[in-house]
Symmetry: C2
Subunit: 195 residues, 2 copies
DNA sequence: TGATATTGTCAGTAAGTACTGACACCCTGA
DNA sequence: TCAGGGTGTCAGTACTTACTGACAATATCA
Protein backbone atom coordinates (compact mmCIF):
# COMPACT_ATOMS: atom_id res chain seq x y z
CA UNK A 1 0.00 0.00 0.00
CA UNK A 2 2.82 2.39 -0.76
CA UNK A 3 1.33 5.57 -2.06
CA UNK A 4 4.35 7.80 -1.74
CA UNK A 5 4.46 8.32 -5.48
CA UNK A 6 1.05 9.99 -5.41
CA UNK A 7 0.40 13.67 -4.98
CA UNK A 8 -0.53 15.06 -1.61
CA UNK A 9 -4.22 15.42 -2.41
CA UNK A 10 -4.53 11.88 -3.64
CA UNK A 11 -2.75 10.46 -0.64
CA UNK A 12 -5.20 12.27 1.57
CA UNK A 13 -8.16 11.01 -0.41
CA UNK A 14 -6.88 7.45 -0.22
CA UNK A 15 -6.31 7.70 3.50
CA UNK A 16 -9.75 9.20 4.04
CA UNK A 17 -11.52 6.44 2.14
CA UNK A 18 -9.51 3.78 3.90
CA UNK A 19 -10.04 4.97 7.43
CA UNK A 20 -13.61 6.20 7.12
CA UNK A 21 -14.76 3.00 5.48
CA UNK A 22 -13.38 1.12 8.45
CA UNK A 23 -14.29 3.25 11.41
CA UNK A 24 -16.96 5.59 10.11
CA UNK A 25 -16.83 9.35 9.60
CA UNK A 26 -17.08 10.23 13.27
CA UNK A 27 -14.71 7.48 14.23
CA UNK A 28 -11.72 9.05 12.52
CA UNK A 29 -10.06 12.38 13.23
CA UNK A 30 -8.54 14.68 10.68
CA UNK A 31 -5.24 14.17 12.45
CA UNK A 32 -5.38 10.44 11.92
CA UNK A 33 -6.22 10.87 8.26
CA UNK A 34 -3.35 13.28 7.81
CA UNK A 35 -0.98 10.95 9.61
CA UNK A 36 -2.07 8.00 7.47
CA UNK A 37 -1.39 10.10 4.41
CA UNK A 38 2.03 11.01 5.74
CA UNK A 39 1.14 14.66 5.83
CA UNK A 40 0.50 17.30 8.48
CA UNK A 41 -3.02 18.08 9.58
CA UNK A 42 -2.56 21.64 8.41
CA UNK A 43 -1.94 20.43 4.88
CA UNK A 44 -5.19 18.52 4.97
CA UNK A 45 -7.09 21.71 5.70
CA UNK A 46 -5.12 23.69 3.19
CA UNK A 47 -6.24 21.28 0.51
CA UNK A 48 -9.83 20.65 1.46
CA UNK A 49 -10.88 23.33 3.90
CA UNK A 50 -13.09 21.05 5.95
CA UNK A 51 -13.38 17.41 6.94
CA UNK A 52 -16.73 17.07 5.22
CA UNK A 53 -15.33 18.48 1.98
CA UNK A 54 -12.55 15.95 2.15
CA UNK A 55 -15.02 13.09 2.40
CA UNK A 56 -17.08 14.43 -0.46
CA UNK A 57 -14.02 14.82 -2.63
CA UNK A 58 -12.90 11.31 -1.74
CA UNK A 59 -16.31 9.96 -2.57
CA UNK A 60 -16.29 11.65 -5.95
CA UNK A 61 -12.77 10.50 -6.63
CA UNK A 62 -13.42 6.84 -5.94
CA UNK A 63 -16.92 6.42 -7.12
CA UNK A 64 -17.01 4.93 -10.54
CA UNK A 65 -19.62 6.46 -12.74
CA UNK A 66 -22.29 4.50 -14.56
CA UNK A 67 -20.13 3.58 -17.50
CA UNK A 68 -21.12 0.01 -18.11
CA UNK A 69 -24.45 0.44 -19.83
CA UNK A 70 -23.41 -1.00 -23.13
CA UNK A 71 -20.29 -2.57 -21.72
CA UNK A 72 -21.56 -6.08 -22.08
CA UNK A 73 -24.34 -5.41 -24.51
CA UNK A 74 -22.18 -7.09 -27.11
CA UNK A 75 -20.89 -9.86 -24.92
CA UNK A 76 -24.25 -11.55 -24.62
CA UNK A 77 -24.73 -14.83 -26.39
CA UNK A 78 -28.38 -15.43 -25.52
CA UNK A 79 -27.58 -18.58 -23.66
CA UNK A 80 -29.05 -18.33 -20.19
CA UNK A 81 -26.28 -19.88 -18.18
CA UNK A 82 -23.45 -18.11 -19.95
CA UNK A 83 -25.17 -14.75 -19.83
CA UNK A 84 -26.07 -15.02 -16.16
CA UNK A 85 -22.44 -15.65 -15.44
CA UNK A 86 -21.47 -12.55 -17.41
CA UNK A 87 -24.01 -10.48 -15.54
CA UNK A 88 -23.00 -11.59 -12.10
CA UNK A 89 -19.31 -11.24 -12.86
CA UNK A 90 -19.92 -7.69 -14.01
CA UNK A 91 -21.89 -7.07 -10.88
CA UNK A 92 -19.18 -8.30 -8.54
CA UNK A 93 -16.50 -6.44 -10.45
CA UNK A 94 -18.37 -3.17 -10.16
CA UNK A 95 -19.24 -3.65 -6.54
CA UNK A 96 -15.73 -4.61 -5.61
CA UNK A 97 -14.25 -1.60 -7.30
CA UNK A 98 -16.62 0.53 -5.24
CA UNK A 99 -16.12 -1.58 -2.16
CA UNK A 100 -15.06 1.06 0.31
CA UNK A 101 -17.43 3.64 -1.07
CA UNK A 102 -20.30 1.24 -0.55
CA UNK A 103 -19.17 0.65 2.98
CA UNK A 104 -19.05 4.36 3.72
CA UNK A 105 -22.47 5.06 2.31
CA UNK A 106 -23.75 2.22 4.48
CA UNK A 107 -22.23 3.55 7.65
CA UNK A 108 -22.60 7.26 7.16
CA UNK A 109 -25.74 7.80 5.18
CA UNK A 110 -26.58 10.59 7.57
CA UNK A 111 -23.42 12.52 6.82
CA UNK A 112 -23.63 12.16 3.06
CA UNK A 113 -27.23 12.78 2.17
CA UNK A 114 -27.99 11.98 -1.42
CA UNK A 115 -24.82 10.03 -1.97
CA UNK A 116 -26.36 6.67 -1.27
CA UNK A 117 -28.48 6.98 -4.37
CA UNK A 118 -25.37 7.34 -6.46
CA UNK A 119 -23.91 4.20 -4.98
CA UNK A 120 -27.04 2.28 -5.81
CA UNK A 121 -27.17 3.40 -9.39
CA UNK A 122 -25.11 0.51 -10.66
CA UNK A 123 -27.22 -2.24 -9.11
CA UNK A 124 -30.37 -0.52 -10.28
CA UNK A 125 -29.06 -0.35 -13.81
CA UNK A 126 -28.06 -3.95 -13.78
CA UNK A 127 -31.45 -4.94 -12.47
CA UNK A 128 -33.19 -3.06 -15.22
CA UNK A 129 -30.90 -4.55 -17.77
CA UNK A 130 -31.41 -8.07 -16.51
CA UNK A 131 -35.16 -7.62 -16.44
CA UNK A 132 -35.20 -6.57 -20.06
CA UNK A 133 -32.97 -9.48 -20.89
CA UNK A 134 -35.40 -11.88 -19.26
CA UNK A 135 -38.29 -10.40 -21.17
CA UNK A 136 -36.44 -10.80 -24.41
CA UNK A 137 -35.43 -14.34 -23.56
CA UNK A 138 -39.03 -15.13 -22.76
CA UNK A 139 -40.12 -13.86 -26.13
CA UNK A 140 -37.50 -15.98 -27.80
CA UNK A 141 -38.96 -18.99 -26.01
CA UNK A 142 -35.71 -19.64 -24.20
CA UNK A 143 -37.08 -18.93 -20.75
CA UNK A 144 -40.17 -19.87 -18.79
CA UNK A 145 -42.93 -17.37 -18.15
CA UNK A 146 -42.36 -15.69 -14.82
CA UNK A 147 -42.38 -12.24 -13.39
CA UNK A 148 -39.13 -11.13 -15.05
CA UNK A 149 -38.52 -8.31 -12.61
CA UNK A 150 -38.87 -10.48 -9.52
CA UNK A 151 -36.72 -13.19 -11.04
CA UNK A 152 -34.04 -10.64 -11.87
CA UNK A 153 -34.35 -9.17 -8.40
CA UNK A 154 -33.93 -12.56 -6.77
CA UNK A 155 -30.81 -13.24 -8.78
CA UNK A 156 -29.37 -9.83 -8.01
CA UNK A 157 -30.18 -10.11 -4.34
CA UNK A 158 -28.35 -13.37 -3.93
CA UNK A 159 -25.25 -11.69 -5.28
CA UNK A 160 -25.80 -8.50 -3.35
CA UNK A 161 -26.13 -10.59 -0.22
CA UNK A 162 -22.93 -12.47 -0.99
CA UNK A 163 -21.14 -9.21 -1.64
CA UNK A 164 -22.25 -7.59 1.60
CA UNK A 165 -21.47 -10.72 3.51
CA UNK A 166 -17.98 -10.67 2.09
CA UNK A 167 -17.63 -6.95 2.75
CA UNK A 168 -18.45 -7.17 6.38
CA UNK A 169 -16.04 -9.60 7.87
CA UNK A 170 -14.91 -11.94 5.20
CA UNK A 171 -15.67 -15.33 6.55
CA UNK A 172 -18.86 -15.74 8.45
CA UNK A 173 -19.67 -18.81 6.48
CA UNK A 174 -16.56 -20.92 6.50
CA UNK A 175 -15.65 -22.89 3.43
CA UNK A 176 -17.54 -20.74 0.98
CA UNK A 177 -15.70 -18.89 -1.75
CA UNK A 178 -16.95 -16.39 -4.28
CA UNK A 179 -16.12 -18.19 -7.51
CA UNK A 180 -17.79 -21.54 -6.74
CA UNK A 181 -20.74 -19.63 -5.34
CA UNK A 182 -21.18 -17.68 -8.55
CA UNK A 183 -21.07 -20.82 -10.64
CA UNK A 184 -23.47 -22.73 -8.44
CA UNK A 185 -25.95 -19.87 -8.24
CA UNK A 186 -25.85 -19.41 -11.99
CA UNK A 187 -26.42 -23.10 -12.50
CA UNK A 188 -29.37 -23.05 -10.13
CA UNK A 189 -31.03 -20.04 -11.70
CA UNK A 190 -30.43 -21.34 -15.19
CA UNK A 191 -32.12 -24.61 -14.26
CA UNK A 192 -34.98 -22.75 -12.63
CA UNK A 193 -35.63 -20.54 -15.62
CA UNK A 194 -34.98 -22.84 -18.54
CA UNK A 195 -38.20 -24.18 -20.07
CA UNK B 1 -43.79 4.60 20.05
CA UNK B 2 -44.99 5.52 23.50
CA UNK B 3 -42.69 3.91 25.96
CA UNK B 4 -43.73 5.86 29.03
CA UNK B 5 -45.01 2.70 30.67
CA UNK B 6 -41.54 1.20 30.65
CA UNK B 7 -38.97 1.49 33.39
CA UNK B 8 -36.24 4.06 33.17
CA UNK B 9 -33.56 1.58 32.18
CA UNK B 10 -35.64 0.11 29.42
CA UNK B 11 -36.53 3.48 28.00
CA UNK B 12 -32.86 4.31 27.84
CA UNK B 13 -32.05 1.03 26.16
CA UNK B 14 -34.77 1.58 23.59
CA UNK B 15 -33.61 5.09 22.87
CA UNK B 16 -30.00 3.96 22.57
CA UNK B 17 -30.83 1.23 20.07
CA UNK B 18 -33.02 3.56 18.07
CA UNK B 19 -30.60 6.42 17.77
CA UNK B 20 -27.39 4.46 17.45
CA UNK B 21 -28.81 2.24 14.74
CA UNK B 22 -29.64 5.35 12.76
CA UNK B 23 -26.66 7.60 13.30
CA UNK B 24 -23.97 5.30 14.59
CA UNK B 25 -22.34 5.20 18.01
CA UNK B 26 -20.24 8.29 17.51
CA UNK B 27 -23.07 10.13 15.85
CA UNK B 28 -25.22 10.27 18.97
CA UNK B 29 -24.48 11.95 22.28
CA UNK B 30 -25.48 10.67 25.68
CA UNK B 31 -27.56 13.81 26.05
CA UNK B 32 -29.58 13.00 22.96
CA UNK B 33 -30.17 9.46 24.12
CA UNK B 34 -31.30 10.68 27.53
CA UNK B 35 -33.59 13.23 25.95
CA UNK B 36 -35.11 10.66 23.64
CA UNK B 37 -35.76 8.49 26.68
CA UNK B 38 -37.37 11.39 28.49
CA UNK B 39 -34.78 11.27 31.20
CA UNK B 40 -31.91 13.43 32.38
CA UNK B 41 -28.41 12.68 31.23
CA UNK B 42 -27.36 12.16 34.82
CA UNK B 43 -29.84 9.32 35.14
CA UNK B 44 -28.30 7.65 32.13
CA UNK B 45 -24.93 7.58 33.81
CA UNK B 46 -26.41 6.51 37.12
CA UNK B 47 -27.85 3.48 35.42
CA UNK B 48 -25.07 2.47 33.09
CA UNK B 49 -21.93 4.26 34.20
CA UNK B 50 -20.61 4.78 30.68
CA UNK B 51 -21.87 5.23 27.15
CA UNK B 52 -20.19 2.05 26.02
CA UNK B 53 -21.81 0.05 28.82
CA UNK B 54 -25.16 1.41 27.75
CA UNK B 55 -24.66 0.17 24.22
CA UNK B 56 -23.53 -3.22 25.41
CA UNK B 57 -26.53 -3.53 27.69
CA UNK B 58 -28.82 -2.45 24.87
CA UNK B 59 -27.25 -4.98 22.58
CA UNK B 60 -27.76 -7.76 25.10
CA UNK B 61 -31.29 -6.66 25.79
CA UNK B 62 -32.43 -6.65 22.18
CA UNK B 63 -30.47 -9.46 20.75
CA UNK B 64 -32.57 -12.55 20.58
CA UNK B 65 -30.71 -15.64 21.56
CA UNK B 66 -30.47 -18.70 19.37
CA UNK B 67 -33.75 -20.18 20.45
CA UNK B 68 -35.13 -21.47 17.19
CA UNK B 69 -33.12 -24.62 16.75
CA UNK B 70 -36.05 -26.98 16.99
CA UNK B 71 -38.59 -24.23 16.51
CA UNK B 72 -39.60 -25.42 13.10
CA UNK B 73 -38.18 -28.89 13.30
CA UNK B 74 -41.74 -30.11 13.58
CA UNK B 75 -43.24 -27.77 11.03
CA UNK B 76 -41.46 -29.36 8.13
CA UNK B 77 -43.53 -31.35 5.71
CA UNK B 78 -40.73 -32.54 3.40
CA UNK B 79 -42.20 -30.76 0.44
CA UNK B 80 -39.53 -28.54 -1.06
CA UNK B 81 -41.60 -25.49 -1.90
CA UNK B 82 -43.55 -25.41 1.34
CA UNK B 83 -40.48 -25.95 3.46
CA UNK B 84 -38.42 -23.33 1.69
CA UNK B 85 -41.17 -20.88 2.42
CA UNK B 86 -41.12 -21.84 6.08
CA UNK B 87 -37.37 -21.40 6.21
CA UNK B 88 -37.29 -18.02 4.57
CA UNK B 89 -40.17 -16.76 6.64
CA UNK B 90 -38.37 -17.81 9.78
CA UNK B 91 -35.28 -16.11 8.48
CA UNK B 92 -36.99 -12.80 7.80
CA UNK B 93 -38.81 -12.91 11.12
CA UNK B 94 -35.60 -13.40 13.03
CA UNK B 95 -33.72 -10.79 11.08
CA UNK B 96 -36.46 -8.27 11.41
CA UNK B 97 -36.70 -8.75 15.14
CA UNK B 98 -32.99 -8.07 15.29
CA UNK B 99 -33.20 -5.33 12.72
CA UNK B 100 -31.63 -2.50 14.61
CA UNK B 101 -29.08 -4.69 16.28
CA UNK B 102 -27.93 -5.88 12.89
CA UNK B 103 -27.67 -2.32 11.74
CA UNK B 104 -25.55 -1.35 14.71
CA UNK B 105 -23.18 -4.23 14.34
CA UNK B 106 -22.79 -3.23 10.71
CA UNK B 107 -21.98 0.35 11.46
CA UNK B 108 -19.99 0.03 14.64
CA UNK B 109 -18.15 -3.23 14.45
CA UNK B 110 -15.11 -1.40 15.72
CA UNK B 111 -16.82 -0.32 18.90
CA UNK B 112 -18.35 -3.67 19.69
CA UNK B 113 -15.65 -6.20 19.02
CA UNK B 114 -16.91 -9.73 19.14
CA UNK B 115 -20.53 -8.76 18.97
CA UNK B 116 -20.85 -9.20 15.24
CA UNK B 117 -20.34 -12.90 15.62
CA UNK B 118 -23.34 -13.08 17.87
CA UNK B 119 -25.48 -11.30 15.34
CA UNK B 120 -24.47 -13.77 12.69
CA UNK B 121 -25.25 -16.81 14.75
CA UNK B 122 -28.84 -17.04 13.56
CA UNK B 123 -28.05 -17.01 9.85
CA UNK B 124 -25.26 -19.48 10.41
CA UNK B 125 -27.60 -21.81 12.24
CA UNK B 126 -30.21 -21.53 9.56
CA UNK B 127 -27.65 -22.23 6.90
CA UNK B 128 -26.49 -25.34 8.67
CA UNK B 129 -30.04 -26.44 9.17
CA UNK B 130 -30.95 -25.86 5.55
CA UNK B 131 -27.88 -27.71 4.37
CA UNK B 132 -28.81 -30.76 6.41
CA UNK B 133 -32.33 -30.51 5.13
CA UNK B 134 -31.06 -30.54 1.55
CA UNK B 135 -28.92 -33.57 2.24
CA UNK B 136 -31.86 -35.42 3.70
CA UNK B 137 -34.09 -34.40 0.82
CA UNK B 138 -31.47 -35.65 -1.59
CA UNK B 139 -31.37 -39.01 0.12
CA UNK B 140 -35.12 -39.23 -0.09
CA UNK B 141 -34.84 -38.65 -3.82
CA UNK B 142 -36.86 -35.49 -3.63
CA UNK B 143 -34.03 -33.20 -4.70
CA UNK B 144 -31.39 -33.18 -7.39
CA UNK B 145 -27.76 -33.87 -6.58
CA UNK B 146 -25.98 -30.60 -6.01
CA UNK B 147 -23.60 -29.16 -3.53
CA UNK B 148 -26.14 -28.81 -0.71
CA UNK B 149 -24.13 -26.21 1.16
CA UNK B 150 -23.74 -23.92 -1.82
CA UNK B 151 -27.37 -24.31 -2.76
CA UNK B 152 -28.42 -23.44 0.78
CA UNK B 153 -26.00 -20.54 0.81
CA UNK B 154 -27.38 -19.17 -2.44
CA UNK B 155 -30.90 -19.32 -1.10
CA UNK B 156 -29.91 -17.66 2.15
CA UNK B 157 -27.92 -14.97 0.40
CA UNK B 158 -30.82 -13.93 -1.77
CA UNK B 159 -32.83 -13.36 1.38
CA UNK B 160 -29.99 -11.78 3.25
CA UNK B 161 -29.53 -9.41 0.33
CA UNK B 162 -33.20 -8.56 0.29
CA UNK B 163 -33.15 -7.96 4.01
CA UNK B 164 -30.15 -5.65 3.91
CA UNK B 165 -31.57 -3.83 0.94
CA UNK B 166 -34.75 -3.24 2.87
CA UNK B 167 -32.82 -2.23 5.97
CA UNK B 168 -30.81 0.43 4.31
CA UNK B 169 -33.24 2.77 2.76
CA UNK B 170 -36.42 0.89 2.09
CA UNK B 171 -37.02 1.43 -1.55
CA UNK B 172 -34.06 1.36 -3.82
CA UNK B 173 -35.85 -0.94 -6.15
CA UNK B 174 -39.26 0.52 -6.68
CA UNK B 175 -42.24 -1.75 -6.99
CA UNK B 176 -40.73 -4.68 -5.16
CA UNK B 177 -42.27 -5.93 -1.94
CA UNK B 178 -41.09 -8.56 0.46
CA UNK B 179 -43.97 -11.02 0.32
CA UNK B 180 -44.14 -11.45 -3.47
CA UNK B 181 -40.37 -11.64 -3.51
CA UNK B 182 -40.35 -14.47 -0.99
CA UNK B 183 -42.90 -16.43 -2.96
CA UNK B 184 -41.18 -15.93 -6.28
CA UNK B 185 -37.77 -16.81 -4.94
CA UNK B 186 -39.14 -19.95 -3.29
CA UNK B 187 -40.82 -20.94 -6.52
CA UNK B 188 -37.60 -20.43 -8.44
CA UNK B 189 -35.45 -22.42 -6.06
CA UNK B 190 -38.03 -25.17 -5.81
CA UNK B 191 -38.04 -25.47 -9.57
CA UNK B 192 -34.26 -25.44 -9.68
CA UNK B 193 -33.87 -28.16 -7.10
CA UNK B 194 -36.75 -30.50 -7.86
CA UNK B 195 -35.63 -33.56 -9.84
C1' DT C 1 -45.72 10.41 58.90
C1' DG C 2 -41.06 9.20 57.98
C1' DA C 3 -37.37 6.55 55.72
C1' DT C 4 -35.46 5.19 51.40
C1' DA C 5 -34.66 5.12 46.64
C1' DT C 6 -34.90 7.44 42.27
C1' DT C 7 -34.62 11.40 39.69
C1' DG C 8 -33.77 16.42 38.13
C1' DT C 9 -30.90 20.56 38.21
C1' DC C 10 -26.87 22.87 37.80
C1' DA C 11 -22.35 23.84 37.73
C1' DG C 12 -18.20 22.10 36.40
C1' DT C 13 -13.97 19.21 34.75
C1' DA C 14 -10.99 17.07 31.53
C1' DA C 15 -10.27 15.61 27.28
C1' DG C 16 -10.90 15.60 22.42
C1' DT C 17 -11.47 17.79 17.98
C1' DA C 18 -12.24 20.76 13.83
C1' DC C 19 -10.02 24.50 12.34
C1' DT C 20 -6.82 28.96 12.18
C1' DG C 21 -2.74 32.15 12.09
C1' DA C 22 2.07 33.13 12.06
C1' DC C 23 6.43 31.86 10.74
C1' DA C 24 10.15 29.21 9.04
C1' DC C 25 11.67 25.76 5.76
C1' DC C 26 12.53 23.60 1.37
C1' DC C 27 12.23 22.86 -3.44
C1' DT C 28 11.73 24.42 -8.24
C1' DG C 29 12.32 27.29 -11.97
C1' DA C 30 13.70 31.73 -14.00
C1' DT D 1 20.18 34.56 -6.72
C1' DC D 2 15.55 35.49 -6.08
C1' DA D 3 10.51 34.54 -6.03
C1' DG D 4 6.77 31.69 -5.11
C1' DG D 5 4.23 27.59 -4.02
C1' DG D 6 3.70 23.87 -1.04
C1' DT D 7 4.75 22.15 3.37
C1' DG D 8 5.81 21.39 8.66
C1' DT D 9 5.65 23.30 13.33
C1' DC D 10 3.49 25.19 17.02
C1' DA D 11 0.56 27.63 19.69
C1' DG D 12 -3.99 28.48 20.22
C1' DT D 13 -9.35 29.08 19.77
C1' DA D 14 -13.94 27.68 20.16
C1' DC D 15 -16.79 24.09 20.70
C1' DT D 16 -18.38 19.59 21.89
C1' DT D 17 -18.82 15.71 24.89
C1' DA D 18 -18.34 11.99 28.33
C1' DC D 19 -18.66 12.05 32.96
C1' DT D 20 -18.90 13.83 38.10
C1' DG D 21 -20.40 15.99 42.63
C1' DA D 22 -23.61 18.34 45.54
C1' DC D 23 -28.12 19.26 46.67
C1' DA D 24 -32.99 19.64 46.14
C1' DA D 25 -37.39 17.54 44.64
C1' DT D 26 -40.31 13.75 44.22
C1' DA D 27 -42.15 9.22 44.46
C1' DT D 28 -42.66 4.89 47.04
C1' DC D 29 -43.78 2.33 50.76
C1' DA D 30 -43.72 0.84 55.59
Amino acid sequence: MDQSHLGTSDRLLFAAIDLISERGYNGVTTQQIAEAAGVSEKTLFRHFGAKQKLLEAAFDRFHYGPEMKKLFGERLVWELEADLLTVCRTYHETMNRNRKVVQISQKDEVILPGYKERTHQHPLQLLEFLTNYFVEMGERGKMIRTDPKLAAFTFMMSHFGAFINDLEAGNHYPGIRLEPFMQESVRLFARALTP
